[in-house]
């Protein structure tokens, strides 16, 4: 599998790259890179409403992405956006503005990524909407009792499926069940789960699911919002422009009926073609056993780190992601990351765009190792070895 990813041949400061920053973005297989290359070298054209051969090929390539998305996630509506963040903002504008009103409540959790907080804070301020944050408990799980209290009168529940800091997978089936009973719509931030799990969107029963291509072996600049038919019917257009309209006159406009209604302007054509290949690549691997394998490495890593005196934030249950966030008692995280980089290890430090969660944990950041399917246990072992060396020399 590693041969599929050209970047894994890269050396950093004379050492082989060990890429452990997968929750930030994943690497791309050759099939993805080649498909975009081929598009730009042989088929580049603007899509829709054109007759010539290239435009036909480009349109087919673009729409193939939507087909792959619908089929992988069993969804009936897949809107293409520029990423998770735009997908969530789309819900806030296209659904929120049209369906919420003064005094309504939205439920968030303290585990959310900023992209699933800030759009709601902005909407809340503008429309006078109450935001209720479900707290994270000591054991790093959501306080489900408080969630059940909070659901009363809430119109929308926004929850991160898998935390990008902790790797914790939230009980979304249960959350959706409770929310549906109370008639609240549910938005899943699936930025971290879409890359790691097989998700049946319609069976799960959520209304919105947002995720990014770049975190699942696809290109930058593209993502998707899956939408249930019911919620789709409640959405008003967000951005206006070419392709999302049916007719325009100076007196007013009519809009497309399908996903295009929310895809204003020339779409992300090359990106869609690349993502399509990334989904095919994911379809081709045994994601369940790969997940088990890297989760096993993550658990092993967590044990080693604790033995070295680090504080590890994570629990690594079976459905959690292979993410290990940790802190050394005295050594500055970024110093550590610099030293790791000196030997080719790429990890992330900082608040991971989840400051409210870190506030709750009473820390300002962590060092985060996040594994993906092309990582090996040997890489994790060499990481531990080198970390020991660093601590001996510098701590």
């Amino acid at each position: 599998m590693r041969d599929d990813f050209p970047i894994l041949q890269r050396e950093i400061n004379g050492y082989p790259l060990v890429y452990f920053d997968n929750a930030a973005t994943t690497q791309k297989p050759n099939s993805v890179i080649d498909a975009m290359n081929d598009y730009y070298s042989n088929s580049n054209a603007n899509v829709h409403r054109a007759v010539h051969t290239l435009a036909g090929e480009a349109t087919e390539g673009y729409e193939s992405c939507r087909r792959e998305l619908k089929s992988r996630f069993n969804a009936s509506k897949a809107i293409i956006t520029s990423g998770t963040t735009e997908a969530i903002n789309l819900v806030a504008h296209a659904w929120g503005r049209a369906n919420l009103s003064d005094g309504d409540a939205i439920i968030l959790t303290e585990m959310e990524h900023h992209s699933d907080i800030v759009p709601w804070q902005m909407l809340a301020k503008e429309m006078n909407i109450e935001l209720r944050y479900v707290p994270v408990q000591k054991d790093l799980t959501l306080d489900m009792d408080l969630f059940e209290d909070a659901i009363e009168g809430a119109k929308l529940v926004c929850v991160v499926h898998i935390s990008n800091v902790l790797g914790v997978c939230n009980p979304v089936e249960k959350i959706i069940e409770i929310a549906k009973k109370k008639g609240a719509r549910v938005l899943l931030d699936a930025a971290q789960s879409a890359p790691h799990q097989e998700i049946d969107f319609q069976q799960l029963g959520a209304d919105f699911m947002a995720f990014s291509a770049h975190k699942m072996c696809g290109p930058t600049g593209i993502g998707s919002l899956l939408v249930s038919e019911d919620a789709f019917a409640e959405m008003q257009p967000f951005m206006g422009g070419g392709d999302m309209i049916e007719t325009v006159s100076i007196h007013g406009s009519t809009y497309q009926k399908n996903e295009q209604k929310f895809e204003a302007g020339t779409p992300r054509i090359a990106e869609a073609i690349g993502w399509s290949e990334a989904i095919k690549w994911l379809n081709s691997i045994d994601i369940k056993s790969e997940h088990k394998r890297i989760l096993h490495s993550a658990r092993w890593l967590a044990v080693q780190l604790r033995e070295m005196g680090m504080t590890v934030y994570g629990r690594h249950d079976d459905n959690d992601a292979a993410v290990v966030s940790f802190l050394h008692p005295t050594m500055n995280s970024e110093d550590l990351a610099h030293l790791l980089d000196a030997r080719g290890f790429a990890v992330r430090t900082g608040h991971h765009c989840a400051q409210p969660l870190l506030d709750r944990l009473e820390i300002t950041g962590t060092v985060r190792v996040s594994l993906y399917f092309y990582n090996t246990h040997e890489e994790v072992v060499s990481f531990v070895d080198y970390l020991k060396e660093i601590l001996e020399r510098f701590a």
Partner: protein
């Protein structure tokens, strides 16, 4: 501008090191060179903005010489402060003001740091220079 002999030696030493880790190790060691600004004196006006870590600097001019106090929660950042200390502490204002942040680039330090860290260094450098100009 002219560098102090101490600084010239340091630049030479840095240039000779190929291995990034050893270079970082040297920067770490230089953290001890600062005149420590104690945490109690860290305020909003001593803070270097645009640094990811807490980094604080203070400048005094005594008899036309620059006195430089600093501290950071990152040893690497404090190491950079140590280098700056060697470059400006106890040196005449006039001479210090001819300095540009290029000397750090020349040492190959900035390249071994992430862009955010090397921006941090530039921010620190600018803040210090502004204060010297202000005081002088």
């Amino acid at each position: 501008m002219t560098y102090s002999t101490e600084l010239v030696e340091l630049i030479e030493e840095f240039k000779e090191i190929d291995d990034k880790m050893e270079r970082l190790e040297m920067v770490f060691d230089l953290a001890d060179e600062v005149n420590l600004l104690p945490i109690e004196q860290w305020t909003d006006s001593t803070r270097v903005h645009g640094c990811q870590s807490e980094a604080h600097v203070k400048v005094e001019i005594i008899d036309s010489n620059v006195h430089f106090y600093s501290g950071a929660d990152s040893k690497l950042v404090q190491g950079l402060m140590g280098i700056l200390t060697m470059a400006i502490h106890g040196i005449e204002v006039e001479s210090v003001l001819t300095l540009s942040p290029e000397f750090a680039a020349e040492m190959g330090i900035l390249n071994s740091l992430s862009p955010s860290r090397s921006n941090g260094f530039r921010n620190m450098f600018d803040k210090v220079m502004n204060e010297i100009r202000h005081h002088a």
